[in-house]
Amino acid sequence: MTVKVEVIEGGVPHPKILVAGLVCTLVCLYLSYLNVYTNTAYFSFFGGLAVIAALIWGSNTIKVLCSYGIGTGVPSAGMIAFGSGVIAMLLATKFGIAAPIVALVLAAVIGLILGYLANDVLNMKIPVMIQSLTELAVVGALTLMGFAVLITGSFTFTGLTTGSVTLFGALSMPSYQVSFIGGGLTAVAFLLGAIAIQHPFNACLGPGWKQDRMLMLTAECGFLSMIVAAVMSFALIGTGAAIISLVIALAGWLYTYCEYIKLSKRDAYAWLDSKPIPDVEGH
């Protein structure tokens, strides 16, 4: 049995979001390379912004794909996006400054083959399947790379695998365990991204679907994940840089949350502003 989801036209066309999302993500990832030129980690927050841009694009792709009623639930699309994306992203980090471009190409190739498998070998016969899985793999790879930049300030394999521990307050030793990959932060970033990409369409689908509301929810989920990632970055980059990321994430989340509530009220038939804990009368 397949779940039928009505297609509602309207909003910004998908190709426009695709191009905008891709360009914004790549530009933000490369802006984080300012870290290397200035020899600081203050530009790590660009990784978080890359995550938001990629997630917004990916969320709209999930909408395009899942409108066909794939019957496996919306979360499965987010899972395959990050499952294939993490594989491409890890290999791409080996290519130094070309890493974001390599991640893009590699993820596109993996997504293309997975799309072919799903559409033809598994006989799904969904017109947008191949394109959507290709896009989702790219989104997964670039989102994880964005998280890596946000947490470590770098997207190269050396940067992601090498950290340092300070002994007795002065002696600094290189350690592979205190790093993005060695510390297992990849798995956390994986699920932070996967939840943020699969939730918005799952929450907003239905006859009252509006594109701007869904994309605002995506941005909100993205900033929420960015807050967690920014907190984790305290362990790996300087406190100053981590605070900048955290402040940007908090401000972004507050703004998008308020905007999302406004859009929800706009689209709702009626709403009652109830308090979370009602006042008990007579006390």
């Binding site: 297609v7 794939i70 594989i87 033809d120 598994l122 990959i181």
Partner: protein, 277 residues
């Protein structure tokens, strides 16, 4: 063309051309692995492919009910294939990773037991909730008699539903699926871990003890990634819900074997390239 007009036409038919293309792709990917790393890499890739196929085949056994099951209108566990497979597979993977030092066979079996136990507990609690919480008996909608116990089903099936609860055969299917998925996930992890342990010290210019966290973490991440790719592809194969090994949809497994093999070969090749280039 609107999406409403173009409903997915996924049937049980096998697209022969695509299957042949899939097999050719598999051979090409194995060939690339042979060129870049003839010994260690190729063996690891073959292990990864076997693991991926085990996952893809195992997911077919798991009784997935989806949203209808949550409302008691279809048999199975009330969630999606990707979630269930990830739960069983990761439980198995963690179990197997603990036993990684004890050798391949023991670790793979431990992984299988971990996945199977996870599914057994899930299936039991699901039935518990169905029977004592929702007050509905277990009845299959796809077969007249339970293939294992021989119990008749239609008398217990409510009108207008496709069956409900978790019949015995679905329970057994769930456990078998968990065993296969857990063992497959563990096999992928162990093959990659062995490869990384052997090659990372030279790649990163560090001692074996220093790179161990990297080897474990990268192998684990790749194993999770491959697990999800295989589970979701299989979910696409069975398009949502399946009752277990007695369901007619179970006969679609040959397609999933080819798809899982190619997908695992592709992802495994990328995982091998990380230490060879």
């Amino acid at each position: 063309m609107t999406a409403i007009a173009a409903k997915p036409a996924a049937g049980s038919a096998i697209n022969t051309t695509a299957m042949v293309v899939g097999v050719v792709l598999l051979i090409i990917l194995l060939g690339i692995a042979y060129v870049v790393s003839p010994g260690l890499g190729l063996m690891a890739l073959i292990g990864v492919i076997i693991g991926g196929v085990l996952i893809g085949f195992g997911v077919h056994f798991v009784p997935v009910g989806g949203a209808p099951a949550a409302m008691g209108q279809a048999p199975g566990i009330a969630t999606g294939v990707a979630m269930l497979a990830a739960g069983a597979g990761l439980a198995g993977l963690f179990g197997g990773a603990w036993a990684a030092d004890q050798g391949l066979v023991i670790a793979v079996i431990t992984g299988g037991v971990g996945g199977g136990m996870m599914m057994a507990i899930t299936c039991m609690m699901v039935n518990f909730v169905y029977v004592f919480g929702m007050g509905i008996p277990a009845a299959s909608g796809k077969v007249a008699k339970d293939p294992i116990t021989g119990d008749t089903q239609p008398e217990y099936k409510s009108q207008g539903t496709e069956g409900h609860g978790l019949p015995f055969v679905s329970f057994v299917g769930g456990v078998i699926g968990g065993v296969l998925g857990g063992a497959g996930g563990t096999l992928i992890y162990l093959e990659l871990l062995g490869l990384y342990k052997a090659t990372l010290p030279t790649v990163m210019n560090a001692s074996a003890a220093q790179v161990l966290p990297i080897a474990i973490s990268v192998a684990g991440t790749f194993a999770i990634g491959m697990f999800l790719v295989n589970a979701v592809l299989t979910a696409y194969n069975i398009t949502g819900t399946i009752e277990g090994p007695h369901d007619p949809k179970f006969k679609r497994w040959p397609r999933a074997i080819v798809a899982s093999a190619v997908a695992s070969a592709l992802c495994g090749l990328v995982a091998i390239l990380i230490v060879t280039i």
